[in-house]
């Protein structure tokens, strides 16, 4: 398995060996040494706006497979990087906040919002963002991106945790997310507190939140 190390708050170095693969968002590779090759690929998922600016609703996210023997430095636009090591675990990350991950992990897409019946609302102007998340499962490394460092919230049976959808980065463990809304007439006409939409979390696990409402 490739070895990951956070060089500083914004750069992560991955040492790749023959036979290994690392997948990353296009634009995430900042430098490399050694005999490393990059191959474009697309995921079967979808993303919404942001990131490299080329991803539009419904399109596939352009990804890049890295193979060979050498060291690759990943990062993007001064955003913070957080390394997560999975061991037969599952990590759910907001699609636009995933920088790179090991080829040994299985990736799939989950759309938050189906459960609450708010799909139409979410797709529209109100939240300003869809809630497509990428689910990574198995054993391997992944790196999340965030505007400013992430902080971790523990969720257990006692907590009543709610997260601003734009601040949500990802989660691990057995967490159930429901899109809640306190949409009253005020929110509807833009006079609300701006906290109308919230992700309500229940179950048991950890949530990664960024200290910003900035979309990436």
């Amino acid at each position: 398995m490739p070895s990951y190390s956070e060089i500083n708050s914004k750069l992560v170095e991955v040492a790749v060996n023959a036979g290994e693969q690392v997948l990353a968002r296009r634009g995430a590779m900042l430098a490399y040494t050694g005999d490393v090759r990059f191959k474009p690929t697309v995921t079967a998922g979808s993303g919404v706006g942001g990131f490299v600016g080329r991803v539009v609703r419904g399109e596939n996210i352009p990804m890049m497979i890295c193979e060979g023997r050498g060291k690759v430095l990943y990062g993007a636009l001064g955003l913070h990087v957080t390394h997560v090591a999975l061991s037969n675990d599952q990590l759910t990350v907001e699609a636009d906040k995933l920088l790179c991950y090991d080829g040994t992990l299985q990736a799939g897409t989950v759309f938050l919002g189906d459960k609450g019946g708010f799909k139409a609302v979410v797709a529209g102007q109100m939240t300003g963002q869809g809630l497509f998340t990428t689910q990574l499962s198995g054993s391997g490394n992944a790196v999340m991106l965030s505007h400013g460092p992430v902080f971790v919230l523990d969720v257990d049976g006692q907590s009543k945790v709610a997260v601003d959808p734009q601040a949500y980065v990802g989660h691990t463990g057995a967490i159930d997310i429901k899109l809640g809304a306190s949409v009253g007439w005020r929110e509807a006409v833009g006079r609300g507190s701006g906290e109308a939409f919230q992700l309500k979390l229940s179950g048991s696990g950890q949530v990664f939140v960024q200290a910003s409402e900035e979309r990436l």
Binding site: P149, V161, A167, S193, A211, S212
Partner: protein
């Protein structure tokens, strides 16, 4: 009493027990408990007159009331958060640098003298006074600079965050300063502080932060 605590430098953790505190509209990133949010509209501080004054002064401060029981996490654009304790005095703050304050503190808009039309920041500055904690935002960690008789301080208005004490604030349209200004910066004047007090600045020009 609502307790304000920093969790790292960019996150404010406020613990409330059936109380209310005020925060910048939309600055909640997460919470744990039973919490509700209400924008300070007509029903906000100062009633109709207060709301009207805010509109008239062009100050872009929009606060919301956060009430309930639990822990609320407040943040804004991953900016640094700085806590200032007020012991009955008044602090002058750039509206866009205020993120949260205890409900018992009073906010007001004070006329600040004539500023150039280029600032887009209006002629007023927000003030907060009373006893309690104020949370200020800064783009990069804030730096406090003391001013005393004989040692005046000159500040780039885009970097100005807040000030307190017995300070006299002047707008200096120094020709040589204008030479020093880059194209992107809108201000063609400096702020000069004289007297006795402390000025808080941020190590970045407002509205010229890192593009994400």
């Amino acid at each position: 009493m609502a307790t304000f605590e920093l969790d790292g430098s960019r996150l404010l953790k406020v613990r409330i027990d059936g109380e209310t505190f005020k925060a910048l509209n939309g600055s909640m990133v997460a919470y744990d408990g039973d919490v509700s949010f209400k924008r300070q509209g007509i029903g906000g501080q100062g009633g109709v007159k207060g709301a009207f004054k805010r509109k008239l002064t062009g100050e872009s401060l929009t606060l919301m009331d956060v009430s309930g029981t639990g822990v609320v996490y407040i943040a804004n654009m991953a900016m640094e958060i700085n806590l200032v304790q007020l012991a009955g005095e008044r602090i002058w703050v750039e509206a866009s640098n205020l993120v949260a304050l205890e409900a018992k503190l009073k906010t007001d808009q004070k006329f600040n003298g004539l500023r150039g039309a280029t600032t887009g920041q209006g002629l007023f500055t927000t003030t907060v006074h009373g006893q309690g904690t104020v949370a200020l935002l800064s783009d990069g960690p804030a730096i406090g600079l003391e001013v005393d008789q004989g040692t005046p301080l000159n500040v780039d208005p885009q970097a100005y965050v807040a000030h307190k004490g017995q300070l006299q604030q002047n707008f200096v349209t120094d020709v040589t300063w204008r030479t020093a200004i880059g194209q992107s910066s809108g201000e063609s004047f400096q702020l000069r502080f004289q007297g006795q007090g402390t000025v808080y600045i941020q190590p970045a020009e407002r509205d010229a932060g890192i593009d994400v």
